[in-house]
């Protein structure tokens, strides 16, 4: 009997410790209703330049040892410069349920009620990804939102390209 009890206690203790360290309980699904206001299509126009964003809220599963689900904001974009399409992922918008290997180019979650912090923005042309993009809805005009894109913070390889294909600062209008 002792042989059974001792491992059992040890297992419970370990699980208890890990539970304190995990941001969400294992097996849980954390909803994020504040993301609903971002869902839809947004557009920025400046002369002959246009950028279009489409956002969907989807359920993302985080693998072991985390093992929980969280709502995320998934997005796709297209960018037209001087009337010419430079890059686009809009053709993949909403095609499938969320997968980490999906064709999305934007992935984020709520930083605040009206602000989404994107941990992923894929610059298709430059083959680079930034984890430093915020998209903030104007509280006084919920049909307008500000896009601020920067490079991810941190040490990088010598040949790193600090530039982006798309503008860094834009104001989008809900469509």
């Amino acid at each position: 009997m002792k042989k059974i009890i001792i491992p059992l206690i040890a297992t419970l203790f370990t699980t208890g410790c890990m539970a304190q360290l995990m941001p969400h309980p294992q097996g849980s699904y954390t909803l994020s209703p504040s993301l609903d206001k971002f869902v839809g299509t947004w557009k920025w126009v400046s002369g002959n330049d246009t950028m279009v964003l489409t956002f969907l809220k989807q359920k993302a599963h985080f693998r072991s040892p985390l093992n929980y689900d969280v709502d995320v904001l998934v997005g796709w974009h297209s960018y037209i410069k001087n009337g010419t399409l430079v890059e686009s992922s809009l053709q993949y918008a909403g095609a499938t349920p969320f997968s980490w290997s999906g064709q999305f180019t934007l992935l984020g979650s709520a930083d605040a009620d009206y602000k989404v912090g994107f941990t992923t923005f894929k610059d298709i042309t430059k083959h680079k990804t930034s984890s430093n993009l915020t998209f903030t809805i104007n509280k006084f005009n919920i049909n307008q939102a500000t896009w601020v894109l920067k490079n991810s913070q941190g040490m990088k390889n010598a040949n790193y390209d600090y530039g982006f294909t798309v503008p860094l600062n834009m104001v989008f209008t809900r469509q």
Partner: protein
């Protein structure tokens, strides 16, 4: 008057340019190392004759003698480029003893030989620029005259693996080189890549050591042109390295091995003519009329022993760093540079050796990044996050990814002692890794773009490591992440004066941060 002004202007311009060039060279020490060293032959004559303060008169006589020879043969620049620069203040000076010569080569200046016992024997290490090993040494007899012999460490095999008492052999060249390297770089543990070195018979068994450690040594010298050296050097290593157990492994098969023998260094000038392939005025192996093998150009062999860094615990590494004056200077400098509008980083060849060989790089203005690839493997990186409202007070995910890439691209000399430092306006940390565990973590989360997307989400969202957080909250969240994902990271927090870094970990209950006692980082 105008002409004079113009002349002065050009002089000033020239001086400014020279000063700039000089400072540029210093900045880029590390980058100059591997790339240019082999292709560009620098003029190193001035460096060669640079005499450190308090250089002994005996060594100064050697320098003077070489300068005289160089006026005639113009060989010093070639020696410096091929063999290395002398470390004059690390010369081993062995004062004359009272013994008389009993045997040796019958060659050289008989008048000086008759004086027997009057010469001082000096071994001067030569080190190639931006390297950390002794490549060659000068064996010099300083008496009525100064006689010099150049010995290229990589040519050890040319001296043979015999054990003839009155000759230099491969073991003795290797041992002397290691002794000098111990003096210059503190290297006392080596892996032997040639199984013929330091073979040892004990109880009827011949041991072919794979590792050796230089212990205490006592040397008495009976100098003259044929210098008798009686050297007892403890090559005994606990843990049984002589039987092939690597450092740090608890090996019970212990063999004690003490090298203690008498041999002769024959030191003479180029009486036999020629200097091997170099045309130096010094006798070198392969030179005309010179024992033991004759022929060949010398100076081309490969050194068959490599320094094995000691196995230090992470806490010992960080404590040692705090005793490196250069490292403290860098920490303070980086703290003040957090007021700049760009990040700064230095990559260091080995931050545990003062003065630190390093190179500096800065990131673009108003961007929270800094990029580099060390041209040769390094063992330390220090960087800052400048005072942007968007800056993190802890390591960013890209910082960790970069360490993973350095590890997998073999840009780290020794992962066990590699350190990544961070200084921000409100925090400072040193990070170390457990190479196996960290690589396993990186393979899972950093090795492809899909995993990286998930990792970014976990880092910034699930664990809320964010620019707007207090340093304490980011530290707590970072350590929770380190522990729950078993990242193989050890974190040290710096105090406000950057004089002490304390090992920290998440508390057992997961609710706060505590000091990692006895250097144990993962909560049980």
């Amino acid at each position: 008057m105008n002409k004079f002004r113009t002349y002065n202007f050009y002089i000033c311009l020239l001086v400014t340019c020279l000063v700039y060039l000089n400072s540029s060279c210093k900045k880029n020490d590390l980058y100059n190392s591997s790339v240019k060293q082999q292709t560009v032959s620098k003029n190193l004559e001035k460096e060669f004759f640079k005499i450190p303060a308090k250089t002994s008169p005996t060594v100064q006589r050697i320098i003077t003698r070489i300068a005289e020879q160089n006026n005639q043969y113009h060989f010093v620049n070639d020696v410096a480029n091929r063999e290395g620069l002398p470390v004059w203040n690390k010369a081993r000076i062995q004062l004359p003893g009272k013994s008389t010569i009993t045997s040796g080569f019958q060659h050289g200046n008989s008048a000086n030989q008759a004086n027997g016992g009057e010469d001082t024997l000096v071994f001067v290490p030569l080190v190639l620029q931006n390297t950390m090993f002794v490549n060659a040494f000068l064996a010099c007899a300083v008496g009525d005259s100064v006689n010099i012999r150049l010995i290229h460490a990589g040519d050890y095999a040319q001296y043979g693996f015999n054990n003839i008492p009155d000759s230099i052999n491969a073991d003795r060249v290797a041992l002397q080189t290691m002794l000098l390297e111990m003096d210059v770089f503190g290297h006392d543990e080596y892996e032997l890549l040639d199984s013929r070195l330091f073979n040892h018979v004990q109880d009827g068994i011949t041991y072919h050591p794979q590792f050796c450690k230089i212990g205490s040594s006592t040397t008495t010298v009976t100098p003259s042109l044929m210098v008798q050296v009686t050297s007892c050097t403890q090559m005994t290593i606990s843990g049984g390295w002589l039987t092939g157990c690597p450092p740090g492994v608890n090996c019970n098969n212990v063999v004690t091995y003490t090298v203690c023998d008498t041999y002769f260094f024959f030191i003479d000038e180029n009486i036999g003519g020629g200097g091997g392939g170099y045309g130096y005025p010094w006798w070198i192996p392969g030179g005309a009329g010179s024992p033991p093998n004759g022929g060949g150009g010398g100076g081309s062999g490969t050194i068959a022993w490599v320094y094995v860094p000691p196995v230090l615990t992470p806490c010992q590494v960080v404590d040692s760093l705090m005793n490196i004056p250069d490292y403290k200077i860098f920490l303070d400098d980086f703290k003040s540079k957090t007021a700049d509008h760009h990040e700064t980083a230095i990559v260091m060849l080995d931050p545990l050796i003062n003065p630190i060989t390093y190179d500096t790089t800065t990131g673009p203005e108003n961007d929270l990044g800094v990029n580099y690839n060390p041209p040769i493997p390094v063992n330390g990186v220090l960087h800052n996050h400048y005072n942007s409202p968007d800056r993190l007070t802890i390591f960013s995910l890209d910082d960790l990814v970069k360490v993973y890439l350095m590890l997998t691209d073999h840009e780290i000399i020794n992962a066990k002692t590699f350190t990544l430092g961070l200084v921000t306006d409100s925090s400072s940390y040193i990070l170390m890794i457990d190479s196996t565990q960290f690589k396993q973590f990186g393979d899972t989360w950093f090795s492809d773009s899909i995993s990286l997307i998930e990792a970014n989400n976990i880092y910034f969202k699930n664990y809320n490591i964010a620019a707007g957080n207090s340093a304490a909250l980011n530290e707590y969240n970072f350590l929770k992440l380190v522990t729950s994902l078993n990242m193989g990271i050890k974190l040290f927090r710096g105090n406000s004066t950057l004089t002490q870094f304390t090992p920290i970990r998440i508390k057992d209950d997961g609710l706060s941060v505590e000091t990692a006692t006895n250097c144990v980082f993962i909560a049980p």
